[in-house]
Amino acid sequence: MAHLPLAASWYQDQDFIRGLYIIAFALFILGLRMLSHPRTARRGNQVAAVGMAIAVVATLLDERIGNWGLIVLGIAVGTAIGIPAARSVKMTAMPQMVALFNGVGGGAVALIAWAEFRHAGGDLPLDSIIPNVFAAIVGSVSFWGSNIAFAKLQELISGRPIMLPGQRLVNAVLLLGTLAVGCALMAGSESEALFILLLVLAAVFGNMVVLPIGGADMPVVISLLNAFTGLSAAAAGIALDNIALIVAGMLVGASGSILTNLMAKAMNRSIPAIVAGGFGGGPSGGAGPAGAEDRSVRSTSPEDVAIQLAYASKVVVVPGYGMAVAQAQHAVRDLAAELERRGVEVLYAIHPVAGRMPGHMNVLLAEADVPYEQLKEMDDINPEFPTTDVSLVIGANDVTNPAAREQRDSPIYGMPILDVDKSQSVIVLKRSMNPGFAGIENELYYEEKTSMLFGDAKGSVESVLAELKQL
């Protein structure tokens, strides 16, 4: 479609297009804001999608747009791949799908940087070549790093840390080499071979950085790469003088790094420790020899517990000595009442030796006016756990330890336990990571579906209740 340079319509005016861009990134900001609250999250995503549609349409109005055949081809192919992939992916495979989508975004940035370099014959002004080189490096790292992350999560390659001898040194050399080539390009080299070398070095670096990272840390790595892709998009925006790219890319770069930090914190890990991969020798503050196995517990917040509970359909409360010590039974009763008002089924699992005397829990809960029908003995409640959305363990430890079932050498092997680990997810309210009465570690705390809310049982339950009331 040939455009008419002199008879440009009002909608092809650059100011009109930029006006649409401003609307688009206002919608992005609004969408991001809504995405961080459970009630508005889904609408937030839709708001951002509308912003994206506006940005794309605005760009297509631009007079410089040509080659419509290729545009239609590219968009058609992208849609034909993207929609079925997003539709068919299983919920459990979401993280690797996000990694893949993030990777192609980074790949697009690197390709655009390359095409731009070729178009200018390598002769770009300084304020274009610097962001262009940056976009090429980061885009390439992000593309390959995300692909490795995908392959690890999809178990195409081993999820365990893969270490090569002297890998740290190799990585450092790769990074320095990439930067050196980048500097040469910025200093005015017009060699396309050098630009390709830049992309290749960055690609190898991206592979090498993600390979040594263990599977459990992968979500944090994906989030980090996501932030990187955002930064590279912003850089591409400066190179191309496109305000929508600058703003949207930087928004993602900034919010993505905050999010990465939050995710790392939630897993009790630090970002440098994750990126250093297998080098750290286990997380700091790990409990003695267990640290060597690189086990980490997931700690959670009252508001997060509140959300999990509010969207559950069946919650089983597992009280123990900790509830008795903290005198938390009244708070627990209030929490259960609030959940029931929201249509959540609440049951109590009473282990015969929970607490310090038989019937300890029944007495306490009866004192707090918990309806008797809700108190279930161990043999009645155990078949219920597989259909339980959330088990809320309040100060109980040994009576939930799966070691009693599985580990023959455990001192409590053979003791009947509450099968808390069979429920969909487990929240443990506990003062600290100290082992319980029997002095043995509880495997349950290290399971992926378990999250820990540390603190005094009464205080924790009360703050969960306060959060729940706000939802």
Partner: protein
């Protein structure tokens, strides 16, 4: 636009990005990551602009077309996957009625 204006916009956008994400419950980490991921699919715009400049040069056209396809995958896949994740937060019918009732009572 001159480079300093662009850098000013960049810096301001960075601060907005930092501020907009303050407290996020753990449950929303993955959807939020996925949502921001979809937004950087905006690189599609770069592909659209570059393909017009390609001017019949085959390799440039190929690069730009792949970039457009990649950007499109990033956008449609990203938003769709995020939406699917957030579907889980849809209230089930029973509590929904209850909370709607409560909202009506509280007039909020």
């Amino acid at each position: 636009m001159d480079i300093l204006t662009e850098i000013a916009i960049l810096v301001l956008a960075a601060f907005v990005g930092f501020e907009v994400i303050s407290k996020v419950p753990n449950t929303l980490h993955t959807p939020l990551m996925s949502g921001t991921n979809a937004i950087h699919g905006i690189v599609l715009l770069g592909g659209l602009l570059v393909v017009g400049e390609a001017g019949g040069e085959t390799l440039n056209e190929v690069l730009a077309t792949i970039a457009i396809a990649f950007g499109t995958i990033n956008i449609v896949g990203g938003f769709l996957v995020t939406d699917r994740m957030l579907e889980m937060f849809k209230k089930r019918p029973d509590p929904k009625a209850a909370s709607a009732q409560r909202d009506a009572q509280e007039g909020s």
